[in-house]
Amino acid sequence: MRTPVKKLVSAVATSIAVMGAGQVAADIKIGIAGPMTGPVAQYGDMQFSGARMAIEQINANGGVMGEKLVGVEQDDVCDPKQAVTVANNMVNEGVRFVVGHLCSSSTQPASDIYEDEGILMVTPASTSPDITERGYELVFRTIGLDSMQGPVAANYLISQKPERVAVIHDKQQYGEGIATAVRDTLKEGGVEVAMFEGITAGAKDFSSLVTKLRQADVDYVYYGGYHPELGLILRQARQADLDATFMGPEGVGNKDINTIAGDAAEGLLVTLPPSFDEKDENQELVQAFEEKGEDPSGPFVLTSYTAVQLIADGIEAAESTDPFDVAEALRAGTFQTPIGTVEYDSKGDMESFEFVVYEWHSDGSKTPVN
């Protein structure tokens, strides 16, 4: 991929392609919107790294319909208000395709603007079912839904035959959504949900919550939310000798949880998309990331790569850069991507997406359970 000769060839190919399309073509702008700063910027890093790589590789291979892709990057801090500003900026920049956003609570308001303005959006990370429930034509994702992920987690818990489980969430769209899915499946499975409670995102003191968990005498605690809060809960639970196993969704599966929780992160259960970077057919791509000094193992790196690739494939299949034509092509086609074969249903969700239960370790590594 990166040998000088190939580089030269691809550079020549690109320049020929650019010359060929010269008169007609403006570049195709791909908006990339996600958190570059703020408490969950780690996930943004994954997203930007995956999307940049895809743009780079597609351009090296001659671009899309002879035109180059250009990334337009914006920081939404995973804040719904900022996400709206970012979406408007994208409109002003003349972007017609967006990879993003990351947090469901940002994706939701931003997608309203994109849909109104005729911009196609592919979110590589937002798992809240609501996002595709509104009959929008231009909204797609390259990740599964909480309604798939929640039951995977809950069924694993049911299989462990716990006596009592507590379900905690951070009151945000993503966290509460998935926590509700877990609670409902647990109840159907006949497991007693001893507690279902929200915390405040950004809070630091969980001593009262931990005391309550100890009082409730639970075997498992499911947390719907992101790693900064769960890291603190784990650590404070360890200090108070709470004897329970914690579990969370992909929003907690991040090496930063180890810097906060330390040893207390050992044994945490996490549902994640399968490790796409370990698949044989992706090894060439993984190497390309490693040559750039980036880590492709984060859950959203290859989903973001795929989002860009799907936009490119969709444009080529539709032979048009009109987002509505591209959306139609995406719904009609079957695409081979690093995350597997992608087919879309009418809502813009993938027909199938697998989640796997992993056990997290205090050194930041993970091993699949069962």
């Binding site: 700063t37 703020g38 408490p39 910027a41 780690q42 009151k171 409670e197 929200g198 915390i199 405040t200 950004g202 809070a203 630091k204 003191d205 001593s207 009262s208 919550l209 005391t211 309550k212 100890r214 009082q215 005498d217 900064p228 890291g231 603190l232 650590r235 404070q236 200090q239 108070a240 000798d241 930063d256 810097t259 906060i260 929780a261 330390g262």
Partner: protein, 307 residues
């Protein structure tokens, strides 16, 4: 018995958190008591204290020093020095030039300072949560082995003890020392104190420095207690401490202590018996009630409106 132990546990949790609110609230209350302005950048001074302490601890660890008391003392001293100079500089740069102008001007200047400091730390230290090492581990527990046990950790004891010591020193300082007496005089009547030959600028600087030093103590303690810090965590803590100061009667030092403890216990009882979701509702609800029925706060004395 179980229920009692549970209650005691929540009380301990509340008093721990409340005493750190009190430490931060002192900064608000002293500044208000003397110049009648609310220093909204105080929460950020506290956050900077926590960051400095963490940098000091990391530095010592890199040097291979592992003797706990030394680490704590060095971290504490570094945090206090940096925060105090920060507090002094903030007053000098952002408040003194606008002192005596329309009362809204210092307030806006304070909010600007708060935003500046937050973003400065964002830039300098990154926006991520940074883990803070738990230096003091372990604790006592009470109650039967197989049922709910009340636990009190050494960290919680450290927090109580440190707060108690700081408050005692502060009270003695205010009531006995020359600067303390000057502080009281300035708070009663700034103009008159000036006429009587007190260097009021120096006294005002001193209150900023003292408040910042106590906030730094709270920063170190809370960093260790919670386990992570980020550039935004001063804001909410500042808001809570401000609530505590108003609750106890802004301008009154014993009021700040009382307000902090009441707020901490109210929060932990709400989490413990209702739901964590209502924690902030209760603390800010308390603030509204106090402002409605006793605007001077629990221990505040009615005085001429200054702000």
């Amino acid at each position: 018995m179980q229920d009692l132990l549970y209650f005691i546990q929540q009380l301990i949790n509340g008093l721990t958190i409340g005493s750190t609110y009190a430490l931060i609230a002192i900064g608000y209350t002293m500044v208000y008591g003397i110049i009648g302005m609310i220093n909204f950048a105080h929460g950020e001074i506290y956050m900077i204290g926590a960051y400095t302490a963490l940098i000091a601890i990391t530095g010592l660890a890199a040097l291979g020093i592992a003797w706990l008391p030394l680490i704590l003392i060095v971290a504490l001293v570094c945090a206090m020095i940096v925060s105090s100079s920060m507090g002094w500089a903030v007053e000098r740069v952002a408040y003194r030039p606008v002192r005596g102008k329309h009362r809204l001007i210092p307030l806006i200047s304070a909010i600007g300072m708060s935003i500046f400091l937050q973003n400065y730390v964002h830039l300098a230290q990154g926006s991520r949560n940074i883990g803070f090492p738990a230096l003091i581990e372990g604790g006592f527990r009470f109650g039967a082995e197989d049922s709910f046990q009340t636990s009190i950790t050494y960290m919680q004891i450290t927090i109580f003890a440190t707060t108690l010591v700081c408050m005692t020193i502060l009270s003695l300082f205010i009531s006995r020392s020359r600067i303390g007496r000057a502080c009281r005089a300035v708070s009663q009547d700034l103009g008159m104190a000036n006429l009587l030959g007190i260097d009021t600028n120096r006294i005002i600087s001193a209150t900023f420095v003292i408040g910042a030093a106590l906030a730094a103590v709270a920063g170190l303690l809370l960093g260790m207690y919670y386990g992570s810090i980020d550039p935004l965590f001063g804001f909410i803590a500042g808001l809570k401490a401000f609530t505590a100061a108003v609750l106890g009667g802004i301008g009154s030092i014993p009021g700040a202590m009382l307000g902090g403890l009441i707020l901490g216990v109210a929060e932990s009882m709400t989490s413990g018996y209702l739901s964590g979701e209502y924690k902030d509702v209760v603390s800010f609800g308390l603030l509204i009630l106090i402002l409605l029925f006793k605007p001077t706060g629990l221990l505040g004395k009615p005085e001429v409106e200054k702000i």
